[in-house]
Amino acid sequence: MIASVDFKNFKALRATALQLAPFNLIIGANGSGKTSLIQAVERLHALARLPLTTPGPARRAGGPRISFRFNPPFAAVEARLECVSEASCDLLQIRPAHAPEWPALQAQLGRIRSYQLDYGAMTAPAAPDASPEAPLSPNGANLAAVLAAWRDRHPAEFAALVAEVLRVLPEYSGLELARTAGGTVTLGLRLGPGGDLVTADNLSQGTQALLAILVLAHDPAPPAVLCIEEIDRGVHPRRLREVRDAFYRLSHPAASGLKRPAVQVIATTHSPYLLDLFRDHPEEIVIAQKQGRAARFERLADRADLAELLAEGSLGDMWYSGILGGVPDES
């Protein structure tokens, strides 16, 4: 949905632009702008929900500015975030000012979701959401409540999710939800047929991560854009293929036999093992390059010598070596 983002003086992103694909995996050193990209998209989402306003006199020339362009049918619209400081972008303007596409685009921007999963929060019993159609919350804290709602309202999708969870985590034989006396919902995974129930607070972080990612991938009402940080966190390298496939299910639904609009995915990672899995799709990799205090984005597929590099080693090894950039400055 988002075709490109253009940054001027926003945190480390002093002057850089990025064309976005249906799936985007952002790699780079700490502090190289990966999270800033996601924050910009989050800010677009937040400001798009408010009435459009005109700029006040306090804007400083040359201040932070983020410009978004969109794919058809919104290609004629530019959304521009104006910021009063690097930390505060509080104004959204669209061009042309009265674009007839804006109401429809605004609705789509309202369907942006961003995640930074918090494994501590995910293990706590979840209070039922006010809306039974509430999505997974940004830190995943309502995971059990979301699953309970799906079980009741979307039994087919819930059954498909459970089947996928048990395929990816074959040591378990069932996903169980229970309501506590206080009305909250707890979840657990049953170890083998008739085995012990492993409650959420006893599941490993990697298991929780896979569970949450599969929930995102099987959402009956998926977002338009999904941003998520550190998609490899806690997951065994051999299971990263499942992580990649789960997000491909969102970004390329036809490849999974699904007939629904694609979800644009913007994800970050620090895992060379995950990067290895994108050898056949270097166009999906974005390298955040930081030099001094300034950072810029580069598409891996734009490297002229990519074919030669891939003939000599894995993408993950190439990244770690520093050949691709996107590594910390150790000097």
């Binding site: 390329h252 490849a255 999974s256 891939l310 090894d317």
Partner: protein
């Protein structure tokens, strides 16, 4: 005969299990399930350690290892000459690692060394899966493409032809791959002919089986 597999993914392993069983005339005993390498050159990096592990810590008879050729030099009959080694041929490289590693090992667990089953898929495993179904796919077509500078197909195209997408989910990839390779379950001669990189693996396996103590020769 006890066989271990070193492969890139669960899908590759599923295919290799089918092929090994087809060549040997029945499923062997499997050892050390799920040994993995992360593509080339990871496979040659981990191979010595895998061989030593299997030799000292298991009763594995044969280690089967395959790699994708990608754009590397394809193994040809010329490479089979005694003492020949092509440094850009992945099959020659894998065999050399086997030779170097096993030569130094003392006998263990009642055998002198872990036997070798090495193959290279040209340019990728999906080409093997299309053998007999897509007449345009074969090692000779690939070699001709290398000679003329016009590749007859890409890795991505092969994936599309097998899976209908270049982003198959893992379960779908395994299901389709096994469906296709089972066409060769009773007779691997076509695959061996069209893909000599598989033919040498089949030959290794038959020799390994024949050399086992107690096997009728």
């Amino acid at each position: 005969m006890k066989v271990a597999l070193l492969s890139e993914s669960p899908a590759d392993e599923a295919v290799l299990r089918e092929l090994v069983a087809a060549v040997l005339g029945g499923s062997p005993a499997w050892s050390a399930a799920g040994l993995r390498a992360r593509g080339w050159p990871s496979v040659v990096q981990v191979l010595p350690a895998v061989i030593r592990h299997l030799h000292f810590n298991t009763d594995t008879d044969t280690l089967v290892v395959t790699a994708d050729a990608d754009d590397s030099v394809v193994h040809t009959a010329e490479h089979e000459a005694p003492g020949y080694f092509h440094p850009q041929c992945r099959l020659c490289q894998l065999r050399a690692v086997f030779r170097r590693t096993t030569r130094k090992l003392p006998p263990a667990r009642g055998r002198n060394r872990v036997l070798r089953g090495v193959g290279v898929a040209v340019p990728a495993l999906e080409a093997w899966l299309l053998c007999g179904r897509d007449a345009t796919v074969g090692e000779s077509a690939w070699i001709e493409g290398q000679a003329t500078g016009r590749a007859p197909y890409t890795r991505a195209e092969l994936k599309w032809r097998v899976y209908g997408t270049d982003r198959p989910s893992l379960p779908y990839e395994i299901r389709r791959a096994v469906e296709e390779i089972r066409r060769h379950g009773r007779d691997t001669r076509r695959l061996e002919h069209d893909f000599p990189g598989f033919g040498v693996l089949a030959r290794d396996l038959r020799e390994d089986q024949a050399n086992l103590p107690g096997h009728p020769t």
